[in-house]
């Protein structure tokens, strides 16, 4: 019997409850309390309104580079809503909506994207890690958090966010493998938004799904309509419950779409068609959920205006913040300042004190009329 079929033949489930046409699978519809449904809607709408505002703020030069989440609100809010405040949330860099759900003040996110160190600082009791910029490196951290929870014997669950591109990184493999071997309480939430900057999913992997990758680690993997907040909420709730019950990690692949730019430094018209974007706009997670709530009589009148006012107030407070203290540059390099940083800090303090009116900072841009140096071709258009 040289060739035998081994047991692990697998199937990948795809979960959809409220589809883009607004059709509801009533058998699968979760029994969420009206207040929770309203809270989900409020968070998704706030995520959308803030996102659009932040893109404008970046365009106006009022904040730095920003990675918008437009189109991914259901993936983020449906999943994060399954956590308790004592659970841990580990973001990548596009989880603005999920972070607000977890209690990050809007103002602090604005400060973060404007380059203030305190913007990257969660509140002391908040069980969130800061934004992660390098791709997939936060996945092993999440496993470490879960290992620590197991170590201490508490029942915290860790939810970690990443995109489709991150599944190609070694850290994705290593984290899934560790989590599988150790059976630690992590929910891996992959927001498959179809594009890693300009690289489409089909160039990222030859796998039919990303969810199936979990099976190789002996971990459950589930694909879910990531634009269906009810489906994401159900899938995340099940995964969190399993993790909390000591049944180990889960990989959730949320099928969604980044309707906007990768970051404000990106121009997606270079690599994807208007038709494709338009097709996904018809699957907008907000449209179908709004119609669902309307049908149930749960839409709050004037909510958009309320949220816009909340955002405007946060922007006002953010812009009233004085410029970052230059000396803060040295503050948190180490837990305690070593001699060489004390010396550098003092040197900068002396320079600033000597010339308080015009701080001695050079522009980082090369002036257009700078004298060309040898080896530098002077280009004229």
């Amino acid at each position: 019997m040289p060739r035998t079929l081994l047991e692990p033949r697998f199937q990948v489930e795809h979960l959809s409850i409220l589809d883009s046409e607004g059709t509801l699978d009533t058998a699968l519809e979760p029994k969420l309390a009206p207040d929770e449904l309203r809270a989900l809607w409020r968070a998704m709408l706030l995520g959308r309104r803030l996102d659009e505002r932040m893109v404008r703020l970046q365009r106006q030069g009022r904040i730095g580079t920003f990675a918008p989440l437009k189109g991914q609100e259901a993936s983020q809010i449906g999943s994060v809503a399954a956590l308790r405040t004592t659970d841990w949330m580990v973001p990548s860099f596009r989880e603005t909506a999920a972070m607000i759900w977890r209690g990050w003040p809007i103002e602090r996110l604005l400060l973060f994207f404007a380059g203030y160190l305190e913007g990257g600082q969660p509140a002391p009791a908040q069980h969130d890690l800061p934004v992660t910029i390098p791709v997939a490196t936060q996945l092993p951290h999440a496993v470490g958090l879960a290992y620590a929870a197991q170590y201490r014997g508490d029942d915290a669950v860790v939810m970690v966010y990443f995109g489709d591109g991150a599944t190609s990184e070694g850290d994705f493999h290593e984290a899934l493998n560790f989590a599988g071997v150790w059976q630690v309480p992590v929910v891996f939430v992959c927001q498959n938004n179809q594009w890693a900057i300009s690289v489409p999913l089909k160039k990222q992997t030859h796998s039919r799904t990303l969810a199936q990758k979990a099976h190789a680690y002996g971990v459950p993997g589930l694909q879910v309509d990531g634009n269906d907040v009810l489906a994401v909420r159900v899938a995340a709730g099940e995964a969190v419950a399993r993790a909390r019950a000591g049944q180990g990690p889960t990989l959730l692949e949320c099928i969604t779409y980044r309707l906007g730019v990768h970051t404000t430094a990106d121009d997606p018209t270079k690599y994807r068609s208007e038709e494709e974007v338009a097709a996904w706009e018809r699957k907008d997670p907000l449209t179908r959920f709004r119609a669902y709530l309307e049908g149930r009589g749960l839409l709050e009148a004037g909510l958009e205006e309320t949220l816009d006012a909340e955002i405007a107030e946060a922007v006002r407070r953010f812009e009233a913040t004085p410029p970052a203290d230059a000396l803060a540059m040295f503050d948190h390099v180490y837990a305690e300042p070593p001699a060489h940083l004390v010396a550098q800090r003092e040197e900068l303090a002396r320079r600033l004190a000597a010339n308080p009116a015009a701080p001695p900072a050079d522009s980082d841009a090369v002036p257009p009329d700078a004298t060309p140096m040898r080896g530098q071709r002077l280009t004229r258009r």
Binding site: E118, L129, P140, G144, G170, E174, F178, H332, V333, P338
Partner: protein, 329 residues
């Protein structure tokens, strides 16, 4: 004082810190049942159990990342690299997260993490397992980098590293694990990070070296004494942050300096030490600072070539004579 090997001193440091603080745990490849590729974790699994002495899949980036995550939420992991050369696949975790998250979170998340294991030239470990790995890390703000030369340092510095609230790169050496020396038995004996030590007093020239090179420098000091050359030996012990004051103080006394390093030289620790001596003590110098470094080539595997690649006693002695202007006189 007990006489222990360097390996036993490290083991004792781990054991004492794990007994003292339940947050300390050891994680890495083969650290549990196998007791470490170099047996530094001998007996720890038996005493502390599998939750605190964690055998991992072979994935350095993964278990370094796990260590970072656990450290961010208050545990104090000691990550073992089977050889420090394996840390190359974890460089993103070490440089981009361990070293930076305290800074980027505005001081909210500390990373009290030790990453330890052997590195540097050894006995026929080949090009990929003999690198002076400290060079890759001391450039990075946010990391501390320790290289303990003696068993006493191994214990005192490892304990200080475990109690430190920053990520500490702690690089041992395969060639030193069997070296014996006196080690204080006091479980509160610590050697603070960032302090150099004068290992031998002298008046004519300051010789800066660490790890295997310090033992070689010691032999040179003994051999040149009869020629009337009095060598002061300074061991930085911690490369980052560096105790420049002790080195500068010694140079102001001897007016000459030679820096020895086992690594490939270019932009190495010797360059850094030579440059701060020149910047801060130029007027005290009676001769240019000399560096004695390994050849700027990968480590050969052949025994005879390997011996020729690292700085020899002869090369060190020649440099000392040159700065002293005696040329073998």
């Amino acid at each position: 004082m007990a006489v222990l090997t360097y390996r036993e001193a490290l083991n004792l440091a781990l054991r004492e810190e794990m007994r003292r603080d339940p947050r300390v745990f050891v994680i890495g490849e083969e650290v549990g049942l196998y007791e470490g590729a170099y047996k530094v974790t001998q007996g720890l699994l038996k005493e502390f159990g599998a939750q605190r002495v964690v055998d991992t899949p072979i994935a350095e980036s993964g278990f370094t990342g796990v260590g970072i995550g656990a450290a961010m939420v208050g545990l104090r992991p000691v990550v073992e690299m089977m050889t420090f050369n394996f840390a190359l696949v974890a460089v993103d975790q070490i440089v981009n997260t361990a070293a930076k998250i305290h800074y980027m979170s505005g001081g909210q998340y500390r990373v009290p993490l030790v990453i330890r294991g052997p590195g540097g030239p050894a006995a026929q470990l080949g090009a990929q397992h003999s690198q002076s790995m400290e060079s890759y890390f001391y450039h990075v703000p946010g990391l501390k980098v320790v290289r303990p030369t003696t068993p006493m340092d191994a214990k005192g510095l490892l304990k200080a590293a475990i109690r430190d609230d920053n990520p500490v790169i702690f690089i041992e050496s395969e060639t030193l694990y069997n070296v014996k020396g006196e080690v204080p038995e006091d479980p509160e004996f610590l050697i603070p990070l960032g302090r150099a030590i004068v290992r031998r007093e002298g008046t004519d020239v300051t010789l800066v070296a660490y790890m295997g090179m310090m033992y070689r420098a010691m032999e040179v000091a003994e051999e040149l004494a009869p020629e009337g050359i009095s060598i002061e030996l300074v061991d930085p012990r911690t490369l980052r942050p560096m105790d420049a004051e002790t080195i500068i103080g010694s140079v102001r006394k001897t007016h000459r300096a030679v820096v020895v390093e086992a690594g490939a030289g270019f932009a190495g620790m010797g360059s850094e030490i030579a440059s701060f001596i020149t910047e801060r003590a130029f007027d005290d110098l009676d001769a240019p600072v000399e560096r004695v470094t390994g050849a700027n080539a990968p480590m050969p595997y052949a025994r005879n070539l390997e011996r020729l690649k690292t700085p020899s006693k002869e090369k060190i002695a020649a440099a000392v004579r040159r700065v002293c202007g005696t040329n073998g006189g």
